[in-house]
């Protein structure tokens, strides 16, 4: 008989330390959080970075929707924008490059009580993590994914990114980028994302509007948020900013958000393109489908303790 070095009996049910008991607090007793209460570290971003607006609007979303600290989990991979979780006073994880989505999927699928938000950049989403973007979208795992797209690698100081336009001069393409860039919206629609929206950091109200709609969507909600890299690709998005002489065109009411072909066509418009919700459908989430499998399986073993279910299986293996 095997001796087990560490018996469960010595372990608490959780890995946390026990401390002084903390009084229960009902939602009714709690006031909404202020910006001060949700802000953590001061961001490491360069002054003028577009990511500041996204962060400020995330705080605003939390305030406005009265989400409690502990009910949100902020997940990111690697990149300038992926420093996000350190700046938010809430449970969060700063994971490895490109894999924020599967990490967040693990949280989302095992903890239906949490709002899972993932923040990242274009390299994380469409280059090193491209495969995960497609599969998380097609599986429709419930979470909100905000890609702060700046068309350049910022943290490593100006290399070509998967969304850099052809001709963009970077340290890895000194003569100008030559590779066809990815169109994040087309990619998301083709992969089967059930909520696809586009916004830009220069229009605060619109960012917040998109975030709220994304949060309320039951499924994988994806927002491409143009977020200017002031240091390595300044003025990249001026054509979309009315204050810089560009135009910010909203998707018109005539667009049917459930029409996949129309959404794809709209997503194909040349820069600056349109802003708003391109596509939305209510396909069941992976979370729901897995929960249904559990419900059906549990129906056959109801009233049994876990060890009794296992005992039944073992009885057939004698």
């Amino acid at each position: 008989m095997t001796t087990i070095a560490i018996p469960n009996a010595v372990l608490p049910r959780t890995t946390r330390t026990s401390g002084e008991p903390v009084p229960l607090l009902t939602d009714a007793d709690r006031k909404g959080l202020t910006k001060k209460e949700v802000a953590a570290d001061h961001p490491t971003w360069c002054p003028g970075c577009g990511d500041f607006s996204v962060l400020a609007l995330y705080f605003k979303l939390i305030e406005r929707r009265k989400i409690w600290h502990e009910k949100i989990t902020t997940v990111a991979g690697i990149g300038c924008s992926s420093r996000f979780p350190y700046f938010v006073q809430a449970h969060g994880a700063h994971y490895i490059h490109g894999r924020a989505l599967p990490f967040a999927s693990g949280v989302s699928l095992s903890r239906p009580d949490l709002h899972v938000f993932v923040f990242g950049g274009d390299g994380d989403a469409f280059s090193i993590g491209g495969n995960h973007f497609n599969h998380t979208a097609r599986k429709n795992i419930k979470m909100t994914y905000v890609v702060m797209d700046n068309f350049v690698y910022g943290l490593t100081k100006k290399q070509t990114s998967p969304t850099s336009p052809i001709g963009f001069k970077s340290k890895t393409d000194i003569w100008g980028a030559v590779d066809q860039p990815i169109n994040p919206l087309k990619q998301a629609i083709a992969a089967g994302a059930t909520f696809v929206a586009r916004t830009t950091h220069t229009n605060a109200n619109h960012v917040l509007q998109m975030m709220e709609a994304a949060m309320d969507h039951d499924g994988f909600s994806f927002i491409e948020c143009l977020s200017e890299c002031i240091e390595f690709f300044p003025a990249a998005f001026d054509a979309s900013n009315p204050r810089k002489g560009g135009k910010f065109d909203l998707i018109g009411p005539e667009h049917d958000v459930t029409d996949e072909m129309a959404a794809y066509k709209l997503a194909d418009e040349p820069f600056p393109g349109k802003f708003g919700i391109f596509y939305k459908n209510n396909r069941p989430t992976k979370n729901k489908l897995e929960a249904d499998i559990i419900t059906n399986s549990r129906a056959k073993v109801k009233d049994l303790a876990d060890w009794q279910i296992l005992q039944k299986t073992f009885d057939r293996m004698k």
Binding site: M1, T2, I4, A5, I6, P7, N8, L11, R13, T14, T15, R16, T17, G19, V22, L25, A40, H69, E70, K71, P85, Y86, Q89, A90, H91, G92, A93, H94, I96, R99, L101, P102, F103, A104, S105, G106, V107, L109, S110, R111, L114, N131, H132, H135, E290, I293, I294, S297, R298, K300, A305, D306, W307, I309, L310, Q311, T313, F314, M317, K318
Partner: protein, 609 residues
């Protein structure tokens, strides 16, 4: 079975004589789609129900369908430690099965062959007793001629039942259970085949055999393979989330968990790749309940970056590695123990983690529970190393007391006043995480991260903190090493040679000790289940022996030492630690271990090694 008749190997006629035996090694050789695993499975489960010891061994071709395949089963009334060096009986379905495996038979052993497909060689008839039966033709005849010989495995099972006087009612019941749920005609056909085989007069057989009754066991026996035992161990340990990607031979575990976990309210997710699988499991672990991922071969290489993150962020996690032949795609269906280095050291940077390797199928079940508990207690990834041999072999073992071992590890989300996960001033030095969803009254929330961090998980470039946090991650595993039991030698704790092994080497090593001791050689063996950290005080065990030979299935590498041998030499600086390694993709034969250790001891004595 120790029958060494070498002369007259053809039957003189008349009814065969009954001989009592204590064990038998039966090798079944055919093609992979012939259902030869099914014959082995029936024999193994019958042994379990008869309280006999049993161990099996199989080879599977890595082709999609078909190809030569064998299943060897060793059944004994006493202790069975390995699947057996030499077979007493070879059941050969084809000419290639006959020719390729006849050498695995003992001199005087029986070759039972399908005379519709095998042309026996005259030169072998002197050495082995040949019993030819038209297995294919008689099977077709028995079921009533569709011209197909599906069912010949069950016919052959009938023959074996006759030869070994097996318990027919129990076998019939097993056959009925196996085919329950299928068309009634399937069960009827199987029983017809079995009975036809059982009633064959086997005219060329000299003897039939009967096992001595086995000693009654205290607990009922349960029969399964290592992959199954490991997966059920995880369920018993309370794991309710897993993620994986298909790869041989790990896939069986993920298929089983995918099928079974929903009954317990859990889920297992098939991911787009290995990177997603390990990341999803880490995400779920972070969310409050130890999760599992696993793989084999190249899949483990792909997971290493994420495992490094879990070490840095100190997230509990169980990673199963069902080792196979490497490097690269290697030998997907062959046994090897060449992942010890990647398990202990895989990844960039200093990333201490826990590595456990069960020795047999029964240990797979208990080691899975142990892995979960160590992961939780020390907030660390634990690699659970099995191998293709343990994963696919079937053993009967004492049914665990499930009520006692099943545990609840659901997270506790009770609010806390304040919390620093990476607190440097705790008494035990171990990180404790809060599951998301836990309210922290102070309003200061922790972040888990792969960057070097301060006590709350926020990034730091401080050299002092990097030194302190490195020490924290290392020292908690040192603390674990003191909790690990010091393994005991099998055989006396003093002698000439100490054979040290890990994983599936345990059975053959113990049998080697038994055989060496039987002829007066002072050989003992030591099995290490905890490989990282190692238990303490091994040097005291080593002191009792002249030679310490580490026996493992991997290459001796550039400097002449296998992977465990190199680790032990690094740890103990003991030049007596030597290596016995091989990479032929097969399990150790007892004879190989004995021959190699004698040769090595001789060579050392004569100054040649």
């Amino acid at each position: 079975m120790s029958d060494t008749a070498s002369a007259n190997l053809t039957a003189p006629g008349g009814p065969p004589k009954l001989t009592k035996i204590s064990e038998a090694v039966i090798r079944i050789a055919g093609n992979s789609q012939d259902g030869i695993q099914a014959i082995g499975g029936f024999l193994a489960r019958l042994a379990g129900r008869s309280e006999q010891e049993v161990m099996t061994f199989m080879t599977i071709p890595s082709t999609i369908s078909g190809g030569p395949s064998i299943f060897q089963v060793r059944v004994g009334s006493g202790e069975v430690l390995s699947s057996g060096d030499e077979a007493d009986m070879l059941l050969a379905f084809y000419q290639h099965s006959y020719e390729d495996h006849i050498s695995s038979l003992k001199i005087g052993g029986i070759v039972l062959y399908d005379s519709d497909h095998v042309e026996p060689k005259p030169e072998w008839q002197e050495t082995y007793r040949h019993v030819g039966v038209q297995i294919s033709g008689l099977t077709v005849e028995a079921i009533g001629g569709t011209g197909r010989d599906k069912g010949k495995n069950i016919y052959a099972l009938g023959l074996l039942a006759k030869i070994y006087d097996l318990n027919v009612p129990k076998l019939t019941k097993l056959i009925e259970e196996r085919f329950t749920g299928k068309d009634a005609s399937v069960v009827a056909n199987a029983l017809t085949c079995f009975n036809a085989g059982y009633s064959n007069s086997l005219e060329n057989l000299l003897k039939t055999y009967q096992f001595y009754p086995a000693e009654a066991k205290a607990r009922p026996q349960i029969v399964m393979n290592g992959n199954e035992a490991l997966a059920f161990g995880l369920i018993a340990a309370g794991v309710r989330f897993g993620a994986g990607y298909p790869i041989t031979p790990w896939s069986d575990i993920m298929e089983l968990l995918r099928r079974e976990l929903p009954k317990y309210g859990g889920e297992f997710i098939q991911c787009e790749d290995e990177l997603a699988a390990v990341s999803m499991a880490i995400g779920a672990s972070y969310a409050g309940r130890v999760a599992v991922t696993g793989s084999s071969g190249p899949g483990i290489s792909l997971k290493t970056e994420a495992i490094g993150w879990a070490v840095m962020a100190e997230i509990p996690l169980v990673v199963v590695d069902v080792q196979r032949g490497g490097p690269s795609t290697g030998m997907p269906t062959s046994i090897e123990q060449s992942d010890l280095n990647i398990a202990c050291f895989g990844g960039h940077g200093d990333s201490p983690r826990v590595v456990i390797a069960p020795a047999n199928v029964e240990e797979c079940f208990h080691a899975a529970i142990e892995a979960v508990n160590i992961a939780r207690k020390y907030s660390t990834p634990v690699l659970l190393l099995t191998d293709q041999g343990i994963a696919t072999r079937i053993e009967a073992f004492d049914e665990p007391d499930l009520k006692a071992v099943c545990q609840d590890i659901s997270p506790d989300l009770t609010a806390v006043q304040d919390h620093k996960p990476y607190d440097l001033n705790t008494t035990d030095g171990i990180t404790r995480h809060l599951a998301p969803g836990t309210r922290v009254a102070s309003g200061k929330y922790p972040v888990v991260t792969g960057l070097e961090h301060d006590e709350l998980g926020h990034p730091t470039g401080s050299p002092t903190l990097h030194v302190k946090m490195n020490a924290k991650r290392r020292n908690k595993l040192r603390a674990l090493s003191w909790e690990l039991p010091v393994p005991k030698t099998y055989g006396p704790d003093e002698g000439q040679i100490l054979l040290v092994g890990w994983g599936s080497a345990q059975g053959p090593l113990r049998e080697a000790v038994d055989r060496a001791r039987a002829v007066g050689d002072a050989v003992s063996c030591l099995h290490l289940r905890h490989l990282n950290p190692l238990p303490n005080d091994l040097e005291k065990v080593f002191r009792g022996f002249h030679h310490i030979f580490v026996v493992e299935l991997n290459d001796e590498n550039l400097y002449g030492f296998g992977q465990l041998a190199a680790i032990l030499r690094g740890r103990y600086c003991d030049p007596r630690i030597r290596s016995i390694t091989k990479t032929d993709g097969l399990t150790w034969k007892v004879k190989e271990i004995l021959d190699r250790s004698r040769t090595l001891a001789q060579a050392i004595k004569s100054g040649e090694a």
